[in-house]
């Protein structure tokens, strides 16, 4: 890791090392060759774009997820962590996790959902700092909107 300027020390709640790492070198930023569903998310206000591909296991759980995105460090890292947190989950569990994540992104915590959604919520926790930056919350949630749209059989995320 390069030396970090102390100039931005008070931003480390937003740009934690995990975010910077996943933002710079995402592990899952690739399209799937074979997939069962895909959807796009678009934030025309800021130009962020994401597409998510999903492949299901025979039992209907998510076997593999991949994404392509153009956006800020927060949105890339969020997409990357999302892929890791939804592996093996069925659609309803993903929706529940997204609801919890969205609450955490907006308020910083999700006290009533954490016991249920551990350990996935733990993995997403580095993104909780976004709640102090209201204009950046949508950066973190855009990949989730695209994923849920794909699970719903939609081609485009409808919200945001």
């Amino acid at each position: 890791m390069p030396d970090r300027s102390p100039m931005f020390d008070d931003l480390r709640d937003l740009y934690q090392d995990v975010i910077l790492q996943h933002g710079r070198k995402p592990l899952h930023m690739h399209r799937l060759e074979t997939f069962d569903a895909t959807a796009k998310g678009d934030n025309p206000m800021c130009g962020d774009r994401v597409q998510v591909w999903v492949a299901y296991a025979p039992d209907g759980a998510i076997a593999e997820t991949g994404f392509e995105a153009r956006g800020c460090a927060i949105s890339i890292a969020s997409a990357d962590l999302m892929v890791e947190s939804v592996a093996g989950l069925k659609a309803d569990a993903v929706r529940g996790l997204f609801a919890g994540f969205e609450r955490m992104a907006r308020s910083g915590t999700c006290p009533d959902c954490e016991p249920l959604l551990e350990p996935a919520m733990q993995r997403l926790k580095p993104l909780s700092g976004v709640h102090e930056y209201p204009s950046r919350v949508k950066c973190a949630t855009l990949p989730w909107h695209a994923l849920v749209a794909a699970l719903d059989g939609e081609k485009e995320a409808s919200s945001e």
């Binding site: 970090r4 800021c46 130009g47 800020c72």
Partner: protein, 413 residues
């Protein structure tokens, strides 16, 4: 304080007139580099608006009492101020709207419906703000006219050859083009555009939202048919905009919004319209904002566009030199004739991340698509960061921006 007699702009004297510039943001002095989105307001503007509300406010154009007469005088004096600012031939050529967007929509509805014929075309450029794209799409869909786009070059200038080619078949009834790009800082060659368009039988509207802040605009010298701008970028209030139009064109155009103030007489069978400009000014206007706009114009003119343009040209040269020297920074747009709006990208960081980090140092820039999605697509970009300068911007602020950008890049390296 008198800044009018100084050949070189006394920036600290100017800054002293902007109360907001003494604010700190996140513990740092405010470095406001987002004037192209909306400019800050000098005390002269704030005081004029407060003073009007405290001492002489009533509705305009209808009262027979002292307050209404005084307010009408003050509001109509704003029309004279705009006439002077643009050097319009007649005060009746100045129509007040709520914004540049409002002005362009007025023109698109009225000129599109009443003057342009199905099969005729409107020609815009490849570097327009959404506000000079979408109203013409709506007019196209409503009135069967065609929308054409003149290309820009890789340097971010109007491609004059393509512009002429798009006019060649004589179908273009109106050219609607920015006078200065809000993304690239490019000044379009307005005089040349007008000459070429007129030679092909097309009228010309110039969107002066950015340009009117930085340069003296003379609509008679330009010979443009319409010119629009907004108050809030010119150190005035928001909620008031201007549509200048040559009188005979405005007279031929049907009204846009209907209501009070725009009529001559009303019966249930039919209504007749007031003379221009009132035909286009339905309802109670933005009275206080008009008074504020006059104060802004008076204030800017007292400083003088020669000083303003020279100051901002120095800032722009300095900013381009400083930003271009930073490893990984790419300045977007290299027009020969350009002003103090500088878009850039940074190889290690997305524009939003740049903006968030700069904000932590009290530096306000804009990041994103700048309401110009087709232009961003033409440039092959998703977003840029944009620093824009005003009359109160200093070289030291640009240095703070450049020094901080170096640290931003390190942060994301």
């Amino acid at each position: 304080m008198n800044v009018t007699t100084r050949p070189v702009l006394d920036v600290s004297a100017v800054r002293a007139q902007f109360p907001i510039l003494t604010q700190t943001v996140r513990g740092k002095p405010l470095v406001f580099l987002d004037s192209a989105a909306s400019a800050q307001k000098p005390r002269a503007v704030i005081s004029a608006m407060v003073n009007a509300m405290e001492t002489q406010y009533a509705n305009v154009h209808r009262g027979l009492h002292w307050m209404s007469e005084r307010t009408t005088e003050a509001y109509e004096a704003a029309r004279d101020a705009v006439q002077g600012l643009l050097n319009a031939a007649d005060r009746s050529e100045i129509v007040f709207t709520n914004s540049s967007t409002g002005s362009i929509n007025l023109l698109a509805h009225s000129y599109g419906r009443g003057i342009l014929k199905p099969g005729q075309a409107v020609l815009i450029s490849g570097m327009e703000h959404h506000s000079n794209i979408v109203p013409w799409q709506m007019a196209r869909d409503a009135h069967g006219i065609e929308l054409r786009v003149a290309n820009i070059t890789d340097a971010g200038e109007l491609d004059i050859a393509d512009f002429e080619a798009k006019l060649a078949d004589g179908k273009v009834g109106l050219v609607a083009m920015t006078h200065m790009s809000n993304v690239l800082g490019t000044y379009t060659p307005a005089e040349r555009i007008v000459k070429i368009a007129h030679a092909h039988g097309a009228r010309v509207m110039l969107d002066g939202s950015q340009a009117v802040v930085h340069r003296r605009v003379d609509v008679q010298a330009l010979d443009c048919d319409f010119y629009v701008f907004t108050g809030h970028k010119l150190y005035g209030p928001n909620g008031i905009g201007v549509l200048y139009g040559k009188r005979e064109l405005l007279e031929a155009m049907p009204p846009f919004l209907g209501g009070g103030d725009m009529i001559s007489s009303v019966t249930y069978e039919r209504s007749t319209w007031a003379e221009v400009p009132h035909k286009f000014e339905a309802g109670t206007p933005a009275i206080i904002e008009g008074i504020g706009l006059k104060a802004a114009i008076d204030w800017v003119q007292a400083i003088g566009f020669d000083s303003i343009a020279a100051h901002e040209a120095r800032l722009t040269v300095h900013a381009l030199a400083r930003l271009s020297a930073i490893e990984g920074v790419r300045v977007i747009g290299h027009a020969q004739d350009r002003g103090g709006v500088v878009s850039f990208t940074l190889d290690q960081a997305h524009a939003h991340d740049i903006a968030t980090l700069l904000d932590r140092q009290g530096i306000a820039v804009r990041a994103g698509q700048h309401c110009a999605e087709p232009l961003m697509r033409r440039l092959g970009l998703d977003s840029t960061a944009r620093a824009s300068f005003g009359i109160y911007t200093t070289s030291e602020e640009i240095d703070v921006l450049a020094d901080t950008l170096v640290r931003v890049r390190e942060f994301f390296a």
